[in-house]
């Protein structure tokens, strides 16, 4: 037993190796470099002066502007995650309980939006939501709103745009977990007199919790790092963290400060994801 275990261990390690090397090379190395940059000092003329200082981090966390941008980002990410969860759960349940050919088609339909890039999708929303867009034309034709209603460049437009981007991730993650819940459990609960809502609350939801945790974490991380959607649909006056990081790198060429902002975003995203997970896990195994 031990022998075979050890023998099996070696090929497993070898199988993992390419992925590990790739991640080290493509992800860890640039991040180490970026972290080093974040400790440098910026000069508009020389760009980057070698140093070991925490001043970029300090000025980011004490600047009310960046605190507000972070708050906007967190609020938007939480909101979009909750909407995606609420909208995604019924869809995932339906998909998971489906059989036969329809299931394959519906799965494909769920994945389909991912084949269109974020920018293209945002462009679609722009033609729908613009002051001269389809929706405003319809509102005007209805006679209820003679003047165009401001839909573009609003937090609502951003939330709408982001939710449609992340929804497939939520649905697919949830569906794969719900599929693993034996249908018999629900039938047994119904047989014992539970109402459908009780079955959902006491049987399906607790068993689907790992999917809720994974799906929400995945979607939350995507929302925290949203870039194209907030820029295109939120307009210049709505700022989230990822565009703020980009601005520092590209518009002001302030790489040290941009790097510090990037690491702050990473740390906050990680902390909130872990906190959310812990919260949901506790619900699953109440003390």
């Amino acid at each position: 037993m031990n022998e075979s275990g050890r023998a099996a261990g070696r090929p497993v390690a070898a199988l993992v190796l390419p992925a590990v090397v790739l991640v080290l090379l493509m992800m860890v190395a640039p991040m180490v470099l970026l972290f080093r940059y974040s400790l440098n000092i910026f000069s508009p003329t020389e760009l980057m002066i070698q140093a070991l200082t925490a001043r970029n981090y300090l000025s980011a966390v004490t600047d009310p502007y960046y605190l507000a941008v972070m708050a906007t980002t967190i609020r938007m990410a939480v909101l979009c995650t909750l909407i995606a969860l609420a909208a995604g759960f019924p869809a995932a349940y339906t998909l998971a309980r489906m059989r036969g050919r329809w299931k394959a088609w519906l799965t494909l339909a769920t994945v389909f939006p991912l084949m269109v890039g974020n920018v293209v999708r945002a462009a679609g929303w722009m033609t729908l939501l613009g002051n001269a867009g389809l929706l405003n034309a319809a509102l005007k034709a209805s006679g209820l709103f003679p003047d165009p209603v401001q839909l573009m460049y609003t937090p609502m437009a951003v939330a709408l745009g982001i939710v449609t981007v992340v929804l497939p991730y939520m649905i697919l993650t949830l569906a794969s977990v719900i599929e693993g819940i034996p249908r018999g459990l629900e039938e047994a609960a119904l047989n014992l007199g539970a109402r459908p809502l009780t079955v959902f609350r006491r049987v399906v939801l607790p068993l689907a919790l790992p999917g809720v945790v994974a799906g929400s974490a995945l979607v939350f991380i995507l929302c925290m790092n949203a870039y194209a959607t907030p820029i295109l649909l939120g307009g210049p006056q709505f700022t989230m963290m990822a565009p703020a990081v980009y601005d520092q790198f590209v518009k002001t060429t302030n790489w040290p400060f941009g790097a510090a902002l990037a690491f702050i975003l990473l740390a906050v995203t990680l902390a909130l994801t872990l906190a959310g997970r812990a919260l949901l896990q506790r619900r699953r195994h109440p003390a």
């Binding site: 020389e46 002051n131 210049p236 590209v250 060429t253």
Partner: protein
């Protein structure tokens, strides 16, 4: 030939990222004059090889630089919808309460808009401080800020906004595209912009890069660019048809009043200007 299309800022970032590398990815880099100056200060460009770029002899003397060739130029003017707006004379009209909610500001042009505001508020091309209060005052007029020039053009077309500071060349292109527009060169003098091209020190194929620069200065190419894109030629031997010249050109009097940017000052102040723009003007 492979063209690497992207924003100026992205191109700048690429230049900076590649500057320590012996083999860059670009033979020719296009940038606006202020960005070009900033990059040249970092020492990333070759000096223009005048032997390899014979057309450089025809460059308008005022536009000559050691590290780049001027490709095209234009200037920031006030663009407006003639059905809605009249009697515009300069930058100050953007503050006119008559146009509340109808003023469009291009987000990308934050620097040149800031200097435009500075000029009418007692500042200069070497002092943007007075622009701060002036721009905060402009907020009372509820200006609409657009993330891209194209979105601004769309808003002008639908009549959502009526008046905007913009490059004249863009105004010409949009007029050609059927948008009802007129323009005025501001009485305080327009701020010119020269789009330039240069060859990085680590360009893989310099011979072809110089040939490309030479072709850019060719009179025919310059005339074609003027007609299609509305930018004014930078060489003395490219004459424009009178009709085109009247729409995109600047009279000698206009040119004499050009407020040429102080590039050294601008390079130093740009981060502070953007900070103010993002945190206070757009907030």
């Amino acid at each position: 030939m492979l063209q690497d299309l992207g924003s100026q800022d992205a191109r700048k970032t690429k230049l900076i990222a590649e500057r320590v590398s012996r083999h860059g990815s670009m033979d020719v880099v296009h940038l606006g004059d202020a960005d070009m100056y900033q990059m040249a200060q970092l020492g990333v460009f070759e000096e223009v090889d005048l032997k390899a770029v014979p057309n450089a002899a025809t460059i308008i003397p005022k536009l000559r630089k050691p590290y780049s060739i001027p490709h095209i130029f234009s200037a920031q003017i006030i663009l407006y919808n003639p059905d809605k707006v009249s009697g515009v004379t300069g930058f100050a009209d953007l503050w006119d309460p008559k146009y509340k909610g109808r003023v469009a500001i291009p987000d990308l042009n934050y620097a040149v808009v800031t200097f435009g505001a500075a000029l009418i508020a007692g500042g200069s091309m070497s002092n943007w401080e007075p622009a701060k209060q002036k721009l905060l005052d402009l907020k009372k007029n509820d200006p609409k800020i657009y993330p891209s020039h194209e979105q601004l053009a769309a808003a002008l077309k639908t009549g959502e906004v009526w008046i905007a500071p913009m490059w004249l060349a863009r105004g010409y292109m949009w007029q050609k595209a059927g948008i009802n527009l007129a323009h005025v060169v501001p009485k305080e003098g327009a701020i010119p912009i020269v789009f330039e091209a240069a060859v990085p020190k680590n360009a893989p194929d310099k011979a072809n890069a110089w040939a490309y620069l030479n072709a850019m200065l060719d009179a025919k190419a310059q005339q074609g660019f003027a007609d299609r894109m509305g930018y004014v030629p930078t060489v003395s031997d490219a004459t424009l048809p009178a009709a085109v010249g009247a729409q995109i050109g600047f009279s000698p009097a206009d040119q004499a009043k050009f407020n040429t940017p102080d590039f050294a000052y601008q390079a130093k102040q740009l981060p502070a200007i953007l900070d103010f723009w993002n945190k206070e003007f757009k907030a």
